[in-house]
């Protein structure tokens, strides 16, 4: 965590010292970067969010399929560009209470015990994204974020409290529901390999103070086949090594997605 903060500070200093000021860049199929979508462009993933370039600086995104059970919205704002660097912030707001209620059920699909009385939760995540272009076809992005999730109401009697969901990917992203705040730092690389093939490689560290499982490290490698400028197939894996209330565990999960742009 300290190293991540130090790296971000150095990056910001480099940015400030850079003499040239560049125009803001936009990019397609680059969600995890400081580049927003081009103005007027939509992108939709089979499992990923619907993203929309509202202006050259602002990108909005949401998961439309799940919106009615987990209302969510996210905005990326491109702050500035300087030389090969671009800085953006990303802010997301999620209201997971409806979904938590739906998965608190008897029988199959009961992720939480049926007697759970989930509190009203407003989960807010704020991130800084600093992307540096590496030549014409590659880039790297530093990510720093913090999540808070104010809670209201909910059960406190035995059997009614909101339990943690001790699963890879989910635990780290819902830990803020059970603590004061969680933090996240990461780095991502993306670029072309050859022809229509491209890659993204990223690593993220989640720091979850106050939790029985206090950290998670995630690393993903995805290969993309850009069938056209507006359609790609992605496949790869995500490796998760994390601490949970029961101890540490390593998972390697296959990942696949289809993305359309229009």
């Amino acid at each position: 965590m300290k190293r991540s903060v130090l790296a971000a500070t150095l990056f910001a200093a480099l940015l400030a010292a850079s003499p040239a000021t560049a125009e803001l860049k936009t990019a397609s199929f680059r969600a995890d970067s400081a580049y927003p979508l081009p103005e007027g462009r939509f992108e939709l993933g089979l499992f990923g969010p619907l993203r929309y370039g509202l202006s050259e600086r602002v990108e909005l995104s949401a998961y439309p399929l799940y919106f009615f059970v987990i209302p969510n919205i996210s905005a990326k704002y491109a702050l500035m560009a300087s030389g090969p660097f671009q800085v953006a912030t990303r802010h997301s707001l999620v209201y997971p209470t409806l979904l938590l209620g739906l998965v608190s059920r008897e029988g199959t699909g009961g992720i939480l015990q049926p007697t759970t009385n989930a509190p009203h939760i407003l989960a807010l995540t704020n991130e800084a994204l600093i992307t540096r272009a590496l030549g014409a076809n590659h880039s790297t992005t530093l990510k720093l974020g913090i999540s808070v999730a104010p809670r209201f109401g909910g059960g406190d009697a035995p059997g009614t409290e909101l339990e943690t969901i001790d699963l890879p990917l989910i635990y780290a992203r819902t830990a803020a529901y059970h603590s004061f705040a969680t933090a996240r730092a990461g780095i991502a690389f993306a670029g072309k390999i050859a022809g229509p093939f491209a890659y993204t490689v990223d690593a993220d560290y989640f720091f979850m103070p106050e939790m029985d499982g206090s950290f998670a490290f995630e690393h993903a490698t995805m290969l993309s086949w850009h069938a056209s400028d507006d359609f790609l197939v992605q496949a790869g894996y995500t490796l998760v090594f994390g601490e949970y209330p029961f101890g540490t565990q390593l998972h390697v999960l296959p990942m696949i997605d289809l993305k359309w742009g229009f």
């Binding site: 462009r41 939480l112 029961f246």
Partner: protein, 385 residues
């Protein structure tokens, strides 16, 4: 914005021409196949081999034990995963699924108090959790070792999954354990047949029962084989019968070696000569998945065990007074109403030493609040069979 959306949709549709779609789907299938080894065929880690080594434990603070003089105390108890008398969903008395850490510790303290009162040399336990969400992830085998005079343990899981997405159960690791004052070796988990009446998905996440078999080195005597089982409870397809027969076969195998053995567990059926075989007033489940108490079709299932081995509670004693040996009830506000728990040996038990610790008058301490089973104890003579 809407013009852009309409234009984008037209372009997206253009990309989904049949030939292209087929290529994409073929690519997806190929990628999935390539990714399959990463995910494995058992993504939630629920499976077991037919025979596996048991997990061995040791107390963090070993208790010095004097050499036994000709006999040892053996105890059997279904501990209900430290759930005490909380009304759980599967009993149909309540809706609880997950316990808090404080609740589990309080219940374990009750179990330890009873164990420390009996001071067994060997303890067989069924339904003990080592890493389950429902029991606050407390390793109950290690906890009991650290809070009793028992020094060594062996554990065989019978219900294991990284995550069970049903009723909020979550992560599960629950099974059978054997505790001993003396070192344990040769620990083995022997898989029992699975129910054939369940669909594949249910069977994947369901209990996979076992026989836990270990040797414990009794000072001044030598190895004693200890065998623990918890047979099927709810199946209607004969799985319970198969489990009982496999248990008997394992006893026969060990007995043939000439080694002294003590074996027991929760057999989930009643002895021959039981007068009440069904219609138990504590059984209120209507879901047939959890109805387990018509024992009429099971008459004679335990006869081979009684014929070939000495029982802690002899059939004569039991048939003279069934109620005195009842060891189970679902209703904490009722009283024990059936005998499901057993101890057998190929050696000899001290005559009249078998006892079901039903309450203060029979065992010196109330046990109804501690589990849905009462403990059974007996004194085993240290004599070669």
């Amino acid at each position: 914005m809407f013009d852009t959306l309409a234009q984008g949709l037209r372009r997206a549709r253009a990309h989904l021409k049949p030939r292209r779609l087929v290529k994409v789907l073929a690519g997806l299938v190929l990628i999935e196949l390539l990714a399959l080894p990463l995910f494995g065929c058992d993504p939630f880690n629920t499976g077991f081999e037919d025979a596996e080594e048991a997990v061995l434990y040791e107390s963090t603070r070993l208790t010095r034990v004097p050499e036994p003089i000709g006999q040892i105390v053996v105890m059997n108890w279904n501990a209900k995963f430290g759930g005490g008398r909380i009304d759980f969903w599967f009993d149909c008395y309540g809706d609880r699924v997950i316990m808090g850490r404080g609740e589990v510790i309080e219940n374990l303290e009750g179990l330890a108090k009873k164990i420390n009162q009996v001071k067994p040399d060997i303890l067989l336990v069924q339904e003990i959790d080592t890493n389950s969400k429902r029991a606050a992830y407390i390793d109950q085998v290690q906890w009991l070792l650290d809070h009793t005079e028992l020094n060594y343990g062996a554990y065989a899981s019978q219900w294991k999954a990284d995550f069970i997405p049903t009723d909020g159960i979550g992560r599960m690791d629950s099974g059978n354990a054997i505790f001993s004052r003396w070192p344990i070796s040769e620990g083995q988990r022997i898989a029992l047949p699975l129910s054939e009446e369940q669909d594949a998905l249910t069977r994947y996440f369901y209990l996979k029962r076992n026989i836990l078999s270990v040797a414990t080195e009794v000072p001044g005597f030598g190895p004693v084989q200890v065998i623990n089982v918890h047979t099927d409870a709810y199946g209607k397809d004969g799985t319970k019968r198969k489990h009982i027969d496999a248990f008997k076969a394992e006893l026969d195998r060990v007995a043939a070696t000439g080694r002294l053995l003590v074996a027991g567990g929760d057999l989930n059926t009643v002895p021959d000569g039981t007068t009440k075989l069904n219609g138990f007033d504590d059984s209120i489940c209507t879901d047939e998945d959890f109805v387990a108490d018509d024992y009429a079709p099971e008459a004679g299932w335990l006869t081979p065990l009684y014929n070939d081995y000495a029982s802690a509670i002899t059939l004569e004693d039991y048939q003279a007074d069934n109620e005195r040996y009842y060891s189970h009830t679902v209703n904490k506000d009722g009283y024990w109403n059936r005998m499901l728990d057993y101890l057998f040996t190929n050696g000899e038990f001290v005559k009249g030493s078998g006892m079901v610790h039903q309450d203060e008058s029979k065992g010196g301490m109330a046990t109804m609040p501690l589990s849905d089973h009462a403990p059974l104890t007996v004194i085993l003579k240290l004599e070669a069979p």
